[in-house]
């Protein structure tokens, strides 16, 4: 196997408290291969978003990454990067779509200006070139380039989310982290967006770290899945195996608590 895009080793993160520390992530290790769609699932508070933030070094105190932890992106430890290196690293190597990403656009700037910000900050590029690149990126996510002059409030939620994804792809990152990217959207729009991401990652070759608590969706799109429980990664396997033959009791209970469209109705006592 080629070198993984992301390799997390013994990652331990604590939230430092006045009296006791809260252990958010405990000795988590996993790899994501080039082009791989990796899903990370678990309930709120299980540490999945903490991992996502740590990979882009966006974690802030009181979060503390304990020594001995390694986050290797293309073989380089993100935890060793200085400010300047970090600036170059973000967007270019790892880009992140946040949970309420559709609200992370600046309401007083046009879509074009928001592309321009990213492109100018990270590359020497003229205004005309930036515009051309932005139009190209919008087309990637199925948005007509004439929306470049629109403001965020003139776009639907799904369209704003796709704009954010297009901005994330502006510098051809190797890894796209998506933290609950479609939780606020309805099923049809969610399906359109994730199907688009799936096509793009095959075309452009980036890897995806996909965080969600929608287990059905996760099995549908992911190549491999990791299940987290209270800061620990309790099970990692390829998507079909983890769905059909879950080993850990928590994974089994998670599947059991999922409302289904077909077949038997879920058991009421599936979860405590």
């Amino acid at each position: 196997m080629s070198q993984p895009v992301l390799s997390i080793r013994h990652l331990t993160i604590d939230y430092i408290g006045a009296e006791t520390d809260f252990s958010a992530v405990r000795d988590v290790s996993f790899d994501i291969a080039p082009g791989e769609f990796f899903g990370l699932a678990g309930e709120s508070g299980c540490g999945k978003s903490t991992i996502a933030f740590a990979v882009s070094r966006l974690h802030k105190p009181p979060a503390l990454i304990r020594s001995g932890s390694e986050i290797l992106v293309n073989g380089r430890d993100v935890l060793d990067l200085d400010e300047e290196a970090l600036r170059a690293f973000r967007w270019r190597e790892v880009a992140m779509v946040f949970q309420s990403a559709m609200n992370s656009l600046n309401p007083v700037l046009t879509i074009e200006a928001q592309f321009h910000d990213v492109l100018r900050a990270h590359s020497r590029i003229s205004r005309a070139q930036a515009r051309e690149r932005a139009a190209e990126l919008l087309e990637l996510v199925d948005i007509s380039p004439d929306r470049l002059s629109a403001y965020p409030h003139q776009c639907s939620g799904g369209m704003r989310q796709r704009v954010v994804i297009a901005i994330c792809l502006a510098l051809n990152p190797k890894l796209l982290i998506m933290d609950e990217p479609t939780t606020a959207l309805d099923v049809v729009v969610q399906r359109e967006i994730l199907q688009r991401i799936d096509v793009l990652r095959r075309k452009l070759g980036f890897s995806v770290l996909f965080i969600t608590h929608d287990l059905g969706l996760m099995v549908q799109v992911s190549d491999r899945i990791g299940i987290m429980l209270e800061g620990e990664l309790v099970e990692v396997n390829d998507a079909q195996t983890i769905y059909r033959h879950p080993q850990h009791t928590y994974t089994q209970r998670l599947w059991a608590s999922m409302p289904r469209l077909q077949g038997e109705q879920i058991a009421r006592e599936a979860l405590p």
Partner: protein, 303 residues
């Protein structure tokens, strides 16, 4: 379920925003009825008019045409007194449990307020007892929670408070607009079970608005599928979801995450490959109604 007459009904209600070329039908000839002890699910994507239907029921909007019937009587020209009784009988649970509660007030305050307004006969001691009982009904521990502020509660606990607040005035109808979409999967089930228990124990009529069709199947007996302000298909949950007739219903069902259908293996010719066409056609007026089953109706798309 001996009582077959509905508590609340919308009769041919339309609501239009804007006019002329830019008119948007948020409700187009919408009719449905809510029965005691039954849940009716209203599903559709964002912008389909689900929340407008809720607002029409809550009388936040006046219908442009059509009638709102409460216990078979039109509410249009009802007296102030009837309207007040209506407000006590029809309560709402909102989507976002984080913003539905006032951060500056305790849980006790939130639950006492509807009691003060609608049950003026209660004295202080009785009111406190009523709050304790409400918290117990939604399976929370009263002594722990009464003095707390909303920020000290989890999302699931807050949604339970919203439900308790709705129950405070002994309503007959609860309109729940996406009550679980902001909660975790494991917490979701608890809230849905709670709504189901309330429906059975108190003979409540429930309108469950959601875009999560799987949970609709879990809580509801009947379902309506809405798009562009029109109810395109409705009937018994198992019939509508099992034998969907309208292309839009089939599109919605195809888009529901299903671990047994990988993206890569999606058939090329299903509804998902024709999303735009189906949306465009489903938005056209569809005045005909066809009965396709015992309790299953569809509005066929114009050819």
């Amino acid at each position: 379920m001996n009582d077959r007459s509905p508590v609340l009904a919308l009769d041919n209600v339309s609501k239009v925003f804007g006019s002329g070329d830019t008119a948007v039908y948020a409700a187009r000839s919408v009719s449905f009825a809510l029965h005691p002890g039954r849940t009716l699910a209203l599903v559709g994507e964002s912008g389909s008019g689900k929340t407008t239907a809720a607002r029409l029921i809550m009388r936040e909007y006046e219908p442009d045409s059509g009638r709102l019937l409460f216990r078979n009587a039109p509410l249009g020209k009802a007296s102030a007194r009837t309207i007040k009784a209506y407000r006590a009988s029809v309560q709402m649970v909102f989507q976002d449990p984080f913003s539905a509660l006032n951060p500056a007030h305790t849980i006790r305050y939130h639950l006492e307020r509807p009691l003060r307004l609608h049950r003026p006969d209660l004295n202080g001691v009785q009111r406190r007892a009523a709050v304790v009982e409400l918290l117990e009904r939604v399976k929370l521990v009263p002594d722990q929670l009464m003095g707390k502020f909303p920020h000290e509660l989890s999302g699931g606990q807050r949604q339970r408070i919203s439900i308790a607040r709705a129950l405070a005035v002994n309503p007959q109808v609860i309109v729940a607009d996406e009550p679980t979409s902001m909660l975790d999967v494991s917490v979701r089930l608890g809230i849905l079970n709670l709504l189901n228990d309330m429906k059975r124990q108190e003979s409540l009529a429930l309108l469950y608005i959601t875009h999560d069709i799987a949970t609709a199947r879990y809580v509801a007996e009947d379902i309506m599928v809405m798009y562009a302000g029109q109810i395109v298909e409705w009937g018994a949950v198992d019939s509508v979801l099992g034998q969907p007739q309208h292309p839009y219903t089939r599109l919605l069902l195809a888009a529901v995450p299903d671990p047994d259908r990988r993206f890569a293996e999606a058939p090329a010719d299903d509804e998902l490959s024709r999303i735009e066409t189906i949306r465009r056609q489903s938005a056209l007026p569809q005045p005909e109604t066809r009965q396709v089953g015992d309790n299953h109706f569809v509005r066929p798309m114009p050819e």
